[in-house]
Symmetry: C2
Subunit: 336 residues, 2 copies
């Protein structure tokens, strides 16, 4: 209760992922006062997940002796674009999330103003407002994990496109006709610069070419896309050839993407995060930067962009969702 007594407003932030829900109470400076966590249980359907998200939010509030009524508004980050009417577009990993009434349900279950945002966008917005990107004007963020999440902030606002579905940072094509991506297209950035993309290369080298690797012991079932980043770090530090080559290729291609974002948007900052870079940031960032430097046009524009690691870790999406709720609430409710 101490923080609340200080007079600052409090906001809720919920990160709904494919496997778990993380809810948090945050103040206007981005301090996380409390958190709570539950399994998503997506198989129970859309409405059940919304209810679990609301209950997780309540539990996080109760840790601080608060009720949901003590939160000015709640932001919810979800693995789908959110349309202006508060419905979801689609969420491949969550059944029943196509055109589903996210905000309507969340406002019913929480009785608060709720605001929805794509999780990758939320993570970047969190870094923009409270993390590594604080103070930047144009920010591009890339989170490298199973896929590539991310987004773009421009002069205070998230760019979501006129269709509310843009900022799919991992799905620009960097190798036309190249490696198959999970989205069905060929040659997307994500097909090279994510764990899923890297896994195709690793599987090829170990299974097809019979290259020896620590990774074949670490991931005995061959599903390299789900390999833990800590295991990748161990293999990399052991100078495992397959791991080193695969991670360097990932970093090289991520640099191709970074170059494209600099060339197009001239951001003053690019933040890179996600599991792979939380574990291997020190090792991979020099490769990303050199690859980007060689491909940015005009070359002079490269030096004006700071490329740095994300800072908020697992809290990025929740904090970004809370910051988004704060921003939207002030735009829409406070200012009529």
């Amino acid at each position: 209760m101490a923080k609340k007594a200080s007079g600052g407003r409090l906001f809720g932030g919920i990160d709904v992922g494919g496997t778990k829900i993380l809810a948090m109470v945050a103040d206007e400076d981005g301090n996380v006062l409390s958190t709570a966590k539950k399994k998503t249980k997506g198989e129970q359907g859309f409405k059940a997940v919304c209810e679990r998200a609301a209950v997780t939010m309540l539990e996080a509030a109760e840790v601080e002796g608060l009720a949901l009524e003590d939160l000015t508004a709640i932001g919810i980050g979800v693995p789908t674009p959110v349309l202006p009417d508060g419905t979801t577009a689609f969420a491949p990993n969550l059944p029943g999330w196509k055109n589903a009434p996210l905000i309507k349900n969340m406002e019913t279950f929480t009785t608060r103003h709720c605001y929805g945002v794509n999780d990758g966008n939320a993570g970047v917005y969190g870094e923009y407002v409270f993390g590594a990107g604080k103070g930047s004007k144009t920010l591009v963020g890339l989170f490298v994990g199973t896929g590539i999440g991310g987004g773009m902030c421009f002069h205070g606002e998230l760019i979501v496109g006129e269709n509310s579905m843009a900022a799919e940072m991992g799905h620009i094509i960097v190798q036309e006709g190249g490696r198959k991506c999970g989205c069905g297209h060929k040659g997307c950035l994500e097909a090279y610069a994510s764990k899923t993309g890297m896994a195709r290369r690793i599987a090829w080298e170990i299974i097809q070419e019979g290259r020896a690797s620590l990774l074949s012991e670490m991931v005995p079932n061959g599903s390299y896309a789900t390999i833990k980043s800590s295991a990748l770090l161990e293999a990399y530090r052991s100078e495992d050839g397959v791991a080193v080559d695969a991670l360097r290729e990932l970093a090289h291609y991520l640099g191709v993407g970074v170059a494209a974002y600099i060339t197009l948007l001239g951001p003053d900052m690019i933040v890179i995060g996600g599991g792979v870079f939380e574990s291997l940031g020190k090792e991979l960032m020099p490769i990303v930067k050199e690859s980007a430097r060689q491909r940015t046009w005009p070359e002079a524009s490269y030096k004006d962009t700071k490329i740095t690691l994300a800072q908020l870790g697992d809290h990025a999406v929740g904090l970004g969702a809370a910051a988004h709720a704060m921003h939207r609430f002030d735009q829409e409710v406070m200012n009529g």
Copy 2:
């Protein structure tokens, strides 16, 4: 003088190209009241080109019986980024244009408020305010000629990046390690989807592979990058195999770029112009659209973007420069 007597303000727009200068007087509705043209004579150096631009502007004014004092402000589109202090960044084809005091010179020679803008950006801004993009909120424009010019407009403003050098639409990499681009990098969009890129393919097929083509008669010296778009149209209509394959490849790759812009920015409109599309728009647009449709992610976002031909032709840069001057003047001078 009739238009001026109506009370509306008049603006000057100057398009400084590598070979010619085109100046125009425009009203606030984008009507071009008069134009004048001169050779650039870039070899005479930066200051001389600025003087010629000012004289061309004066000649355009005099056609309408006006003096430069009758223009509220003048916009100048140049083949280089323009930095916030009014200096140029660099212009590969114009000697002495690196870090040159463009606005200082132009204001001295014209005695009016002058505003500088990159020519590709100006062309897109012209389409945004007065042309095919009128009414759109987020607009991406691509002009296909010797290279690819273009830009992005977002909620009323040109995106030029925090470094003032961004929006180099032709220099995102779509084929990592691929065809050499004029910028020195490999696999840029421009290396495939411009006349220069196409020329490399044509030269290869005719010279290395000995493929017969009308183009070898049309361009006897083998410099296919300078081929006129009207000649390309003739060869295409004659079903010349080399021309058809090369133009289809150009359109295919332009679609790869268009898909990237939709995936990233979710624009409500994309305008495509420049010499190649002024001549071959009808033939090539279906290929561009199909290629883009197949590569946009999420797929649902494709249908929200109208892809259309530019409308302003040779006037796009000058009108865009005039519109830019209007916008900046109102922001900076009128509103303090």
